[in-house]
């Protein structure tokens, strides 16, 4: 697997092709914004009926990352479910699948804005989690230091030899790291958007996901 290594808060970290974050020293895999049950929620709200296979798709991706890294800890950075009802309405097969992935490892659910409060699946539920020099939470806060968050579904676009390449991307500066969304069928916010441009400092970098994750200065 092609991993883009970088250092953040004094730690060596790796950006995986799928958009997961790998922390080798702690054998920790961090993923954000899975939005499991999205299709179910949209159908419930009278939107277009999408088949419920997005959940399976996202879990397949997670299973293969876990197989490759054999992570001891999995950290889900919030918005793991599209809402609490979606978490409850998850089909039994998918719940069993999650349980199987959880077996033998530590699992932490961080609360997101879509899924505040605990869900009935196993694992620890936290608002935020501190570990060594780093803090993991769903939405980036002002005055953050060593903060890893999600929420914005960032993506970055560059132009190479007349071609636009746009990918979900990690955004990174001295103080914070924002992860791309891990779920299938999730949209994205360009790094050039004002919200993200304001959040990240002048020397921010972006890591484009894909078969070979690549680091570039964050496009503004």
């Amino acid at each position: 697997m092609n991993v883009c290594e970088f250092s953040f808060a004094g730690q060596r970290l790796g950006a995986l092709p799928s958009g997961a974050l790998w922390w080798p020293e702690r054998q920790l895999l961090c993923i954000s914004d899975l939005h499991l049950g999205k299709s179910e929620r949209m159908a419930r709200r009278g939107g277009p009926a999408l088949p419920p296979y997005d959940t399976r798709e996202t879990l397949n991706r997670l299973a293969s990352d876990l197989e490759r890294t054999n992570a001891e800890t999995v950290l889900c950075l919030g918005d793991s479910f599209d809402d609490l009802e979606a978490a409850q309405a998850l089909p039994t097969t998918e719940k069993l699948r999650i349980a199987a992935l959880q077996a033998g490892r530590k699992w932490i659910w961080i609360e997101g804005n879509h899924d505040p409060g605990p869900i009935e699946l196993g694992g620890t539920h936290l608002f935020e989690w501190r570990c060594g020099p780093m803090v993991f939470r769903h939405i980036a806060e002002d005055q953050a230091q060593g903060e890893v968050s999600g929420h914005y579904h960032p993506k970055a676009q560059i132009r190479v030899k007349g071609r636009h390449i746009s990918r979900p991307a990690f955004l990174l500066d001295k103080k914070r790291l924002i992860q791309p969304a891990y779920g299938a069928f999730t949209g994205g916010l360009r790094s050039s958007d004002q919200v993200l441009a304001d959040l990240m400092d002048q020397n921010a970098m972006a890591i484009l996901t894909g078969p070979h994750p690549q680091m570039i200065p964050m496009p503004r």
């Binding site: 088949p51 560059i158 071609r163 390449i165 970098m205 894909g210 070979h212 690549q214 570039i216």
Partner: protein, 803 residues
């Protein structure tokens, strides 16, 4: 056999007319089960079709519906009503004639169902809708005759398949129904006869005298045609001169966008202020009607138009047809030329204007084919099953059905004569459950089986939704364009949704020959203001891009084999000679591939001559094969005759790229994820009722529909690849946008005779491809390589490469 009543004969004589032999023959055959008349434009086709109806209705004894006339165009139905009215009124026949199309008012429609006219003029969609009502059997009781006009056009599309299923329904209600088809000149009349008749009834073909050969030539201009493009702006002065010399000229274009641009340029050069109008399918109905009326009055000297004027509306005194751009298809050219001199037995006059250098060759080939009466056409396969699914839903709206009976009824329709029972059952199952992968969703479970074994709607309210989504016309997702006013301004026409999405306020574009400024989008309406002072951004109505027919492509290849080209203008002949000197000319039974470097990239030009759509598909499949073998392709562009691919590495051995199994495999696996396949799926899924475009109160925008249909497609591909709609999508992929069938034909033709030529420069024949629009980027290893290089460069520039 009855005689033509004296009153009708007298009316004919009073006009100084006599019956044509084919009109007499059609009258004599009035009691045949099915008859197909093939006659050129202006041959009194419509009268031949209606004469028996007028005679049978002359005594006033028949009550209720007697004859249904179906045409592919609403305008044609209205036109026929006018033309039929005059003899009926002047002779004083007790016949009520009404039309019923999408434009008919709701009150009128309601009344027609209770008290139908003697002669009803309608379209395939309106007729299908009528058969969906519970009281259909009452309304259609006693119908004697059905006349299908322009059947050659309907037989080429799903609209025709739908119509034949509706006819099967009518025939079931009235076993004695007689069918009459009216057609322009076609290459295979027997196929249309089989399409029209109830299977396995015979169908007599009546051929009218085709009239004298047309006078067709290529327009001679002082300026040389450009190397690429479709605008033909160079020919404007010559075209204006022709308009001046003739009474009324029709100027045909292959696409709406080209028609708009040409019209704009024509007016800029129109110093004499000749009255010239524009007519195409994206214009607002009122605008079109105004042009049509002006034309009938003889107020216009020329009309710039597209296929919307292809069909047989009587436009009066057209004495010249100009075709801008290569006709792509000889049959259509001949039919278009028939629009000039709408009088029987006078030769039509037409001029071809090639839009670029390659089209010079194509136009000359088309001229030769037209002179040799060598018409082209692809045989159509069996009736598609998406239309069948829609028809099953329509049938259920009219009342519960018995599967055995419905199967017998549908296989009596020509296009479905060979439908097997399992195929039919799969369609019923799809309508009932949505198919295996979708069975958990309520919304697709539309039918249920009653205790007596008949199928009925699970929810009777679904009938109105099914009716709302009826029809098989799919081409574009258009948004209405209006002038911005406080309370809704004048409607101007339509643009494609994708085009509208690309506009930002302040952008200008052409519509109906005017430059307008985009102001904003309100409730699915594009609001614009008038603006005459800026150069327009061009409206990209895609219209339909036709691929050059197989027969015409063959003719071009045969022409290439000539020693020299006396029939071509010198500039084009010299171009071909230069190609022969530097490289080679493509041959019919070999595949020529050129490889060369340009602008720091490797290029590969494949001369498959398989038509635009197939060359496009070939580009997708070849770049995928190149990607797999590490040749890092970056993109390609396709025309009717070649595909040009560029990338980071040169191809030295093309043979593995063209293995049939590998290409076939690419179609089944990799191409399955492509947007073209998704578009193909979307069209079928909409027809079959899986996707509803219209729901009560609102119309789903194209993009919304694309979103859910793309996801549906991906899901079915992954979890239920044998779903009925996936099978239909694969069948559709052999023709139309994907056109894999023509790639297979090409592979059969060339066998293993592939010639790869390494050149030290761009070849003359490939040069125009560099100017072609519609380049398709390939995202893969080349992109990863570029990204890695760019990342390294950016990091180094920022001094971060040691990070």
């Amino acid at each position: 056999m009855t005689q033509i009543p004296a009153s009708i004969g007298a009316w004919f004589s009073s006009k100084g007319w006599s019956f044509h032999p084919h009109q007499q023959e059609m009258f004599d055959r009035a009691h045949d089960q099915a008859t197909l008349l093939i006659a050129p434009t202006g041959g009194g086709k419509t009268m031949a079709g209606f004469l028996p109806s007028l005679v049978q209705l002359a005594d006033g004894a028949h009550s209720g519906l007697h004859t249904i006339y179906v045409s592919p165009l609403k305008a044609l139905a209205a036109d026929i009503k006018r033309n039929l009215r005059s003899p009926v009124d002047e002779i004083g026949l007790p016949i009520r004639i009404e039309d019923r199309t999408g434009d008919t008012s709701a009150t009128q429609k309601k009344r027609q169902r209770v008290d139908p006219p003697h002669i009803l003029l309608t379209t395939p969609e309106s007729l299908a809708l009528l058969t969906s009502y519970e009281d259909a059997s009452r309304m259609f009781d006693g119908v004697q005759r059905i006349i299908v006009d322009e059947i050659h056009a309907l037989a080429e599309s799903k609209r025709g398949d739908q119509l034949m299923l509706a006819l099967a329904r009518l025939q079931h209600l009235n076993p004695d129904l007689r069918r009459v088809g009216l057609s322009a000149t076609v290459e295979d009349p027997d196929a249309i006869a089989r399409f029209l008749a109830r299977h396995p009834d015979p169908c007599q073909i009546v051929q009218a005298d085709p009239g004298p050969d047309p006078d067709i030539r290529m327009l001679e201009t002082v300026e040389m045609p450009p190397w690429s493009g479709g605008g033909a702006a160079y020919a404007i002065p010559a075209v204006l001169e022709q308009i001046r010399q003739h009474k009324t000229t029709l100027i045909f274009h292959n696409t709406r966008a080209q028609a708009e641009i040409f019209f704009h340029n024509l007016w800029l050069a129109n110093e004499d202020g000749l009255p010239i109008g524009i007519h195409h399918g994206s214009l607002d109905r009122q605008q079109r009607e105004r042009v049509e009326a002006a034309m009938v009055r003889g107020d216009l000297r020329a009309i710039v138009c597209t296929g919307s004027l292809d069909l047989g509306i009587d436009w009066g005194d057209v004495d010249l047809v100009i075709q801008i751009g290569a006709p792509k298809n000889v049959k259509r050219l001949v039919q278009r030329i028939g629009r000039a001199n709408h009088r029987y037995n006078a030769p039509s006059k037409a001029l071809l204007v090639p839009a670029n250098r390659f089209e010079v060759v194509e136009c000359v080939a088309a001229l030769e084919a037209a002179k040799a009466h060598d018409l082209d056409g692809e045989p159509r396969g069996p009736g598609p099953r998406d239309v069948l699914c829609q028809h099953i839903l329509i049938a259920t709206c009219a009342g519960p059905f018995d599967a055995d009976d419905l199967y017998v009824e549908m296989t009596a329709a020509g296009p479905y004569a060979h439908l097997t029972r399992p195929e039919f059952d799969a369609c019923v199952d799809f309508c009932a459950t949505g198919g295996y992968a979708l069975r958990i969703y309520d919304r697709w479970q539309r039918l249920q089986r009653r205790a007596d074994g008949k199928w009925q709607l699970r929810d009777p309210r679904a009938a109105s939704r099914i009716r709302m989504n009826l029809g098989t016309i799919q081409d574009t997702d258009a948004l209405k364009v209006r002038l911005k006013r406080s309370r809704g301004g004048k409607p101007l026409g339509e643009v494609e949704e994708a085009f509208a999405a690309s506009l930002t306020p302040g952008d200008t574009f052409l519509i109906g020959g005017q430059i307008v400024r985009y102001e904003g989008l309100r409730e699915m309406v594009v609001e614009v203001s008038r603006r005459a002072d800026r150069k327009p951004k061009i409206a990209t109505f895609s219209g339909t891009k036709f691929a050059t027919s197989t027969q015409l492509s063959d003719r071009i290849l045969r022409m290439f084999a000539q020693k020299d080209w006396p029939q071509l203008p010198p500039h084009t002949a010299e171009w071909l000679a230069l190609q022969r000197q530097i490289s080679r000319l493509p041959q019919r039974d070999r595949l020529l591939i050129e490889s060369f470097q340009s602008d720091g990239r490797e290029h590969l030009c494949v001369y498959g001559f398989a038509g635009r759509n197939a060359q496009q598909t070939l580009g997708l499949l070849l770049t995928k094969r190149m990607e797999d073998t590490g040749l890092a392709p970056m993109g390609f562009v396709a025309t009717d005759y070649a595909t040009l691919i560029w990338g980071l590495d040169a191809v030295t051995d093309p043979t593995p790229l063209f293995q049939r199994d590998a290409l076939r495999d690419g179609l089944d696996t990799w191409l399955a994820g492509n947007a073209v396949m998704k578009r193909t799926f979307r069209a079928s899924a909409t027809i079959a009722g899986l996707i509803e475009r219209n729901t009560a109160g609102q119309r789903k925008s194209g993009r919304q529909a694309t979103f859910s249909s793309d996801i549906l497609y991906d899901t079915l591909l992954k979890h239920d690849p044998d779903h009925l709609l996936m099978q239909i999508t694969r069948e559709e992929a052999m023709r139309g946008l994907v056109d894999f069938g023509r790639i297979e034909t090409m592979l059969d033709r060339i066998g293993d005779r592939i010639d790869l030529l390494r050149l030290d420069r761009i070849s003359p024949l490939s040069a125009p491809l560099f100017l072609e629009v519609g380049k398709v980027p390939v995202k893969g290893a080349a992109e990863e390589r570029l990204l890695a290089e760019e990342s390294a460069r950016l990091l180094q520039t920022a001094g971060l490469d040691q990070l």
